[in-house]
């Protein structure tokens, strides 16, 4: 009874999150919906008595992969919403809907009938024994480090290659290397200086205009005064 309720609640969470991933306009929202799906999946793993995988699901998927997604989204500033009303290829969504429904019904049809419609076969490795006899983590570790130890070592190499590949791909080449990053204060100082220069030039131009129009030396002097004041402020800042 409890299992049935847990299953349906989790199924709703998982499918709702999955729908949210593909419906949300903003990639950040998609990533958050993905977390929802992954958490629902972790609970389903627990109900299937895969306790270690449930923990790994939360730690690796929600904690590392989705954070990596969010990091890239925010790093690139591509978090602007995508206009989902435009369909770039005519009929794309219709065909996509047909294809995915086809996948769903094809897989489901093979399950319908009896419980043993798909029998499967046991592997050569160890069987799941009762939790009370041996914890799930221990069983998994024993299988992983005996029968699958070669594959385990291979994943270590795979991860190393992935990290090296990511660094090589995302590295800036020597040609378009940016200047060494400046101190924020220096940049602010420069912006301030530029503003003052612009203002001074503006005042000078205004004064020149007044001079030519009314031949009034007073206004020119006033303009000079303002420029001097600006210079003084600048000096004080520096």
């Amino acid at each position: 009874m409890v299992e049935v309720i847990v299953f349906f609640v989790c199924a709703a969470i998982v499918l709702g999150g999955a729908a949210g991933v593909i419906i949300a306009r903003n990639p950040v929202h998609s990533a958050l919906f993905l977390i929802q799906t992954l958490f629902g999946m972790a609970v389903l793993f627990i109900s299937l008595e895969a306790h270690f995988l449930a923990a790994v699901q939360v730690v690796v998927y929600a904690g590392a992969i989705v954070i990596l997604f969010l990091f890239v989204i925010m790093l690139l500033g591509v978090d602007q919403a995508e206009d989902l009303n435009i369909e770039p290829i005519v009929g794309q969504r219709f065909v996509a809907g047909i294809l995915s429904l086809g996948i769903f019904f094809l897989v489901t049809a093979s399950l319908v009938g009896s419980e043993d419609a798909i029998t499967g076969a046991r592997g050569s490795s160890g069987q799941i024994v009762d939790e009370t006899v041996k914890p799930n983590v221990e069983q998994l570790a024993e299988t992983l480090f005996t029968d699958y130890v070669f594959a385990f070592e291979a994943t270590a190499i795979l991860l190393t290659i992935a990290v090296v590949g990511a660094v090589v791909l995302a590295r800036r080449t020597k040609g378009d290397m940016l200047d060494t990053p400046k101190n924020t204060l220096e940049i602010r100082e420069e912006n301030y200086q530029a503003r003052i220069d612009a203002r001074a030039a503006e005042l000078e131009a205004e004064a020149a205009g007044n001079n030519s129009a009314a031949e009034a030396p007073d206004s020119a002097e006033a303009g000079d005064d303002l420029v001097d004041a600006a210079d003084a402020t600048d000096g004080g800042e520096a």
């Binding site: 009874m1 593909i22 990596l68 065909v95 294809l99 995915s100 769903f104 046991r122 990511a166 791909l169």
Partner: protein, 105 residues
């Protein structure tokens, strides 16, 4: 009446099929490469669920071991894929999948 109902592994397999279909649909209709990666993650998760469900039905721990390897491969795939997105977005203003029809940067 409900007390008689038991959750069988077929239920998990049907949920897994539905999740895989949703992921496939998202992969086909979205254009943002980041969202497309998320849809690939959904499909990988659907397969993980069916691995665990079959492992539970057959009483075989190898199903959970397979999920462990799928997790590792998914992590590696995301790392390389996101590095590609970063590298592409550095050279181009937009990174929708429609614009990336040529291999040349």
């Amino acid at each position: 009446m409900l007390a008689a109902v038991e959750v069988t592994s077929n239920w998990y397999l049907i949920l897994s099929a539905a999740l895989f279909a949703v992921g496939a649909m998202g992969l086909l209709i979205r254009r943002n490469p980041l969202v497309m990666f998320m849809c690939v993650e959904l499909m990988l998760n659907a397969v993980n669920l069916s691995f665990v469900a079959f492992g539970d039905r057959l009483g075989d721990i190898a199903g959970q071991v397979s999920v462990f390897f799928v997790l590792v491969v998914a992590a590696a795939e995301v790392v390389v894929g996101l590095a590609l997105v970063v590298a592409i977005s550095r050279r181009r203003a937009t990174t929708t999948a429609d614009d990336l029809s040529v291999l040349r940067g």
